[in-house]
Amino acid sequence: MIELRGLVRGYPGVRALDGVDLAVPTGRHLALVGSSGAGKTTLLRLLLGLEAPDAGTVRVLDRPVHPGPARSLRWLRQAVGVVAQDAGSSLDPRWPVGRSVAEPLRLLQVTGDHPARVREVLAAVGVDPDAADRRPDAFSGGQRQRIALARALAHRPQLLVADELLSGADAVLRARLLELLTGLGTQLLLVTHDLAVAAALHGDVAVLAHGRLVEHGPVADVLADPAAPATRELLAAVLRLPS
């Protein structure tokens, strides 16, 4: 599905990515884990063709990804649905949310009955389909997140990328969202700083630290025997109830 080779990306004064190799097989969930500033967001931006690496290559579905005009990246947008970090505020405040959810259908020229698909996907994320004609300010923060998720799923992408989707939610909401995400049947790439989220995915986990990939493998193996100091630190930081 995804193949990253020798990715290097620097900004003035920072080396955000310092030689990252990562292969993600089709159909297997991945949690991209790391503390703040580890390079998670930069990696996503390169993966989504929003900026170019200083060195290295990005391939998705065996096609190279280069930043460019919207038309040249349409295949990537079709394959990958994205829920941005600020999911709640990413809905245009002037639009009824149904219009926002239909936006990828329109832009990617998906054939079929758009209103029906909007209702279907809203119901799938647990939002009342009859509320599609309301504006975002009529919904709670959690509901807006779900609507943004519905938009990312509307055009049936093969891969869903979510950047820190769960970090703002409270514990109960987070559990429900995770359940929802894993039940979708779409391959997931979740970016998070919480290893507990990674554990719930039952897929692979990749740990970034200081712009390098320090650990990558099935989540059970990594949690049982963390090799990198960064992973052990993240593991120690997971809150547990006293047993």
């Binding site: 994205v82 941005a84 505020s89 245009d92 002037r94 832009l107 938009r151």
Partner: protein, 569 residues
């Protein structure tokens, strides 16, 4: 890379302006020799032999390229060619004229500083003593003062102080008492603007923690006042240069009114006489002076404020936020009521028996030099002046929006260079190409009017492009054009339309200024600027003829000044 492109756009625009100036004699689309012929023998039928003789005599170049090149290379050496009318070299006359303009601008700056000081110092002292944020100067007198159009103030000063009271002479230049009226006409509004700009700084300084510390420690109010004003002065010093640029550009009408032989009046005379080399020289001198002052202002700004701000761009004079007042509504309402009455009463025909009739029941505002009812003409002119202003502003808003839609960042570009050109100067140059008329005057006003709207729209577009819904749309496959159409422009249109609405009076005033100078509407048109010019010769016998448009323009200025002042939230 972007900085380079931005600098390129700025230099490119400046170059384009200079090149257009150099090629001015050819932009009329006729042989310059024919232009000279018409300038010299206005009504005579064209005689090819005389035209050829003129070409040889004045050594006119053959084409626009060689002509522009010769003018430019001459200008660099300080040779601006010879006048087409009296054949004297242009450069010394331009130098003399720009010197007079500079003296006038300097006198006006002195007045402005005095006025701003008079408005600010007592108010600051009061605010320090009462330990309260400063009161009315941010919205009151300075705003109204800044809103008075210079032409209008000049006419009032001319009529009251010069003609009625006869305290000081009303025309000419050279004697100290001849400076008084024009310096006041230019300096009072500038002083109001300066006080508005400084009022914001003073308010900010008063809110700073050190003021409270000083008070708690028992510092004398006078000492605190001095410190606060010193802080404001650091901001003011560079603004003075920008103020002077504005004065140089807006002084054409004042120079004309008081018969001051400055660059503005000389340029105006040159346009009306088709003496294009003289016009080129004057405009070049004004543009260079403006550029030089702008650079000086920028340097002073960096020198004085870098320690405070850590660098940054030159701050444009942003007026202090005003309180929401009913002033613009009241002024607009009053104007509307009078205009309505005038339109309903009607009857603006020529009645020679009523020449210069005093106000009466028959003519509530009197009659003009050919016996036309002033109220009726005033109302008719309101529709023409404000209606044209409205139409022009609408076009300017569309152009501004279109330019803003191409923005990628808020670095200076083409609009920022054009922002420095006053509408009247653009009008003078444009009329040199097309001849006077309402249409070229409107084009000149439009050439300047879209700029502030484009600058504002650009900021809104750049801000909108960075918003979360746009980033999400891009990840759904939207390109720049789709993002602009769907998310950005709908959010820009509202604020831009409100801004444009507030600029209608400013645009109308610019148009009236051009008509007043004889570059716009025909002299017998009821357009307020033309009406003012027509009433001037009878200022002594029948002040109502000029008085009606003066009051109208004054109210329009107040609406413009108070409606465009940023609101305090």
């Amino acid at each position: 890379m972007r900085a380079l492109r931005s600098a390129g756009a700025v230099v490119g625009t400046a170059l384009a302006v200079v090149l257009a100036l150099a090629a001015l004699p050819w932009l009329r689309g006729e042989d310059p020799a024919v232009t000279v012929f018409r300038a010299l023998y206005a009504e005579r039928t064209r005689d090819p032999a005389v035209v050829e003789a003129l070409r040889a005599d004045l050594d006119l170049p053959d084409g626009p390229v060689s002509g522009a090149w010769r003018w430019l290379s001459g200008a660099v050496r300080g040779d601006l060619g010879v006048s087409w009318v009296d054949r004297r070299p242009v450069a010394p006359e331009v130098l003399r004229a720009i010197g007079v303009s500079a003296e006038l601008a300097a006198a006006a700056v002195v007045v402005a500083v005095l006025v701003a000081g008079l408005l600010l110092v007592p108010a600051t002292a009061r605010a320090v003593r009462r330990r309260r944020p400063p009161g009315p100067w941010a919205g009151g007198l300075p705003t109204v003062l800044a809103a008075v159009p210079e032409v209008v103030l000049a006419v009032v000063l001319l009529g009251v102080v010069g003609v009625q009271l006869r305290w000081v002479p009303t025309s000419g230049w050279g004697a100290p008492d001849q400076v008084v009226l024009p310096a006041l006409a230019l300096g009072l509004p500038a002083g109001g603007l300066l006080a508005r700009v400084l009022g914001a700084t003073v308010a900010g300084a008063l809110a700073e923690p050190w003021v409270r510390t000083a008070r708690v420690n028992g510092a004398a109010p006078a000492a605190v006042t001095r410190s606060v004003l010193r802080r404001a002065a650091a901001v003011a010093a560079p603004q003075l240069a920008l103020l002077a640029v504005g004065l140089l550009g807006s002084s054409v009408a004042v120079e004309q009114l008081f018969a001051i032989p400055g660059a503005g009046r000389t340029a105006l005379r040159a346009v009306l006489a088709l003496d294009l080399p003289l016009l080129q020289g004057c405009v070049l001198a004004l543009v260079l002076a403006g550029l030089l002052l702008g650079l000086l202002g920028g340097a002073a700004h960096r020198l004085l404020l870098r320690p405070l701000l850590g660098g940054g761009e030159l701050v444009q004079p942003v007026p202090a936020p005003a309180r929401r007042t009913a002033v613009p509504l009241v002024a607009a309402g009053l104007l509307g009521a009078v205009v309505l009455v005038g339109l309903v009463r009607g009857g603006g025909g020529v009645v020679l028996a009523d020449r210069l009739a005093t106000p009466s029941a028959r003519h509530p505002l009197g009659a003009d030099a050919v016996g036309r009812d002033v109220l009726a003409r005033f109302a008719e002119g309101a529709l023409l002046t404000v209606g044209t202003g409205l139409a022009l502003t609408a076009v300017a808003a569309v152009v501004g929006l279109a330019v803003a839609a191409t923005a990628r960042d808020t670095r200076p570009g083409v609009p920022d260079v054009l922002n420095a050109l006053p509408a009247v100067l653009v009008g003078v140059v444009l009329v040199a190409v097309t001849g006077p008329g309402l249409l070229p005057a409107a084009a000149a006003v439009l050439a300047v009017a879209w700029v502030p709207l484009a600058v504002h729209g650009r900021a809104l577009v750049v801000q909108g492009l960075a918003a979360a819904p746009v980033r999400a749309a891009v990840l759904c496959g939207a390109g720049r054009r789709q993002v602009l159409a769907a998310h950005v422009l709908p959010a820009v249109v509202g604020p831009l339309a409100r801004h444009a609405a507030a600029r209608v009076p400013i645009v109308s005033l610019n148009l009236a200024a051009l008509s007043f100078l004889g570059l716009g509407a025909a002299t017998d048109s009821p357009e307020w600027g033309a009406m003012l010019a027509e009433g001037l010769p009878y200022l002594e016998r029948a002040p109502w003829g000029a008085g009606a448009p003066v009051v109208g323009l004054l109210l329009l200025g107040v609406v413009a000044g108070t409606a465009t002042a940023p609101r305090r939230r």
